[in-house]
């Protein structure tokens, strides 16, 4: 309690002197699953231009602690994610956005649900679509937004609604943004083949709801330095376990049929706090930092630290190496293969909920000339569009539980006539 009081007083101390504040610009760039972009920069100026972003990523992971087989077995997974984001200004104050995409994935782990390799469970495609509307209130420095979205895959459907509000200070040096979002999900119950009671692969469905409320306060401190403090309270209820995750208990031989289906509580409360900093160290080098403290009622406590140093090779060409470190304690319901006690109420052998540390290292490149990379005629009416910028990024991720991952991402930005 003493520590909590200390943290509260220091946090308030951080907020009080922020009266000089500057440009916030704390847009949350959620590519997927977020219907209402909080404060798109384009709404602050004139009518603006129609922006089109074509994004994609290729993700691959491998490991030896697959949750489907009770904390052992392959975790090999590949995922390809083409996405289109469209931002259309309606007038000088309002803007529409659309975000359409898919995840095409192949999972060696879920292929073990029925023990028949290369079965239909080995791959799937998830589609998602999110739409948002933002409007700057006339004569005020407020921007409000509304959004909604859907996503669907073979065994999981999700609908979400979102709302946001952002207020900038008179001198433009401070911004407070608040956003709320609710997800209504429906998961199809698919149990491992040897644990099905009615002989059918699917056994009805179960709901899951997620409610999240985020708040971000950003502040310009000097001509070269700005910071933000953020929090995002998340409450989930419903089916939080995965019905095709097996758990093997002490005393069993690990043979098929001796497992139980993963069981987790029906609610979860998460409360992370983040601190972000951007510093223009010299005309060539910038520093970007992020720290997050995370806590939840599953017993997981985590610290995450990110550092990025963009280097301006030319005014239009930036190279940015980055590093991320994450460490977390294990959920109180986690135990490895054959380590759970038979009498436990909740249990999982999913290593995503285990205690571990993880390192991520990578490099990004961005090329964004003032007048764009190139121009071309659009197929509709022969009008001229501009290829504005290119952003490429690669990262290697390694977890202390033997999981490794590589991800390559690209963002192609266009201005449409």
């Amino acid at each position: 309690m003493k520590n909590s009081a200390l943290l509260l007083s220091l946090s308030l101390g951080l907020l009080v002197p922020l009266k000089s504040l500057a440009q916030g610009g704390n847009t949350q760039n959620r590519v997927d699953g977020y219907g209402a972009p909080a404060t798109p920069a384009a709404t602050r100026g004139a009518a603006g231009e129609t922006e089109l972003n074509i994004l994609m990523s290729y993700y691959q992971q491998d490991g030896s602690h697959g949750a489907v087989e009770g904390g052992r077995g392959t975790e090999h997974l590949t995922n390809l994610t083409p996405t289109i984001i469209l931002n259309v200004p309606l007038d000088t104050l309002s803007r529409l956005s659309a975000n359409l995409g898919m995840d095409v994935y192949a999972s060696a782990s879920t292929d073990r649900i029925d023990q028949v390799l290369s079965s239909p469970s080995s791959s799937d495609t998830r589609f998602h679509a999110d739409f948002g509307y933002t409007r700057q209130l006339p004569g005020r420095r407020s921007i409000v937004g509304l959004g909604a979205g859907v996503s669907t895959e073979y065994d999981y459907k999700s609908v979400n609604v979102a709302a946001s509000w952002a207020q900038t200070s008179r001198d433009g040096n401070r911004e407070l943004s608040v956003a709320g979002q609710v997800f209504f999900d429906q998961a199809t119950i698919i149990r491992p083949v040897e644990l099905r009671t009615n002989g059918r692969k699917e056994d009805g469905s179960a709901p899951r709801q997620s409610y999240n409320l985020s708040a971000v306060l950003s502040q310009v401190l000097t001509q070269r330095l700005q910071v933000s403090v953020s929090t995002e309270l998340v409450y989930q209820k419903g089916l939080l376990s995965t019905p095709f995750h097996r758990v093997y208990f002490q005393g069993s031989t690990g043979a098929l049929g001796e497992a139980k289906v993963e069981a987790l509580p029906g609610s979860r409360f998460k409360y992370p706090v983040g601190l972000r900093l951007s510093y223009y160290a010299s005309d060539l080098v910038l520093l970007r930092g992020y720290y997050r403290f995370y806590n939840d009622d599953f017993g997981i406590r985590a610290h995450t630290l990110e550092l990025e140093t963009p280097v301006k090779i030319t005014p239009f060409f930036v190279v940015y190496p980055f590093y991320r470190y994450h460490t977390q304690t294990q959920a109180r319901y986690f135990a490895p293969y054959l380590q759970h006690q038979p009498g436990e109420q909740f249990y999982t052998s999913d290593y995503d909920l285990s205690g571990f540390s993880a390192n991520k290292l990578g490099l990004g490149l961005r090329y964004s000339p003032v007048y764009g990379i190139g121009r071309f005629k659009t197929p509709f009416g022969g009008r001229i569009a501009q290829f504005k910028a290119l952003d490429l990024r690669y990262a290697h991720y390694r977890r202390s539980t033997d999981l490794t991952a590589d991800i390559f991402s690209a963002d192609f930005s266009f201005i449409l006539p």
Partner: protein, 81 residues
């Protein structure tokens, strides 16, 4: 009480980060005019994850028990593979 202030026993690193943020913020009572924001308006100075980075924050939210407060995904989608 726990619900009103749900941060039981923050670690030493967390407290250090808040103190560091406080020290950075204290000299910040200087108003920066719009014409002085040439550095602040730089694309790399944005206080948010880059759009191209969001795929990474999404997979991290699935592969780690922790998530949120970083512009990443917090719901919608199984991610159970």
């Amino acid at each position: 009480m726990r619900l009103l202030f749900p941060f039981p026993r923050p670690g030493r690193l967390a407290r250090l980060a808040v103190v560091a943020g406080l020290l950075v913020a204290l000299p910040g009572c200087v108003s920066v005019a719009a014409y002085q924001k040439v550095y602040l308006n730089d694309e790399d100075m944005k206080l948010a994850t880059k759009r191209v980075e969001t795929y990474e924050t999404n997979f991290e939210s699935y592969r780690e028990g922790a998530g949120g407060a970083n512009g990443g995904k917090v719901g919608g989608g199984c991610g159970c593979n």
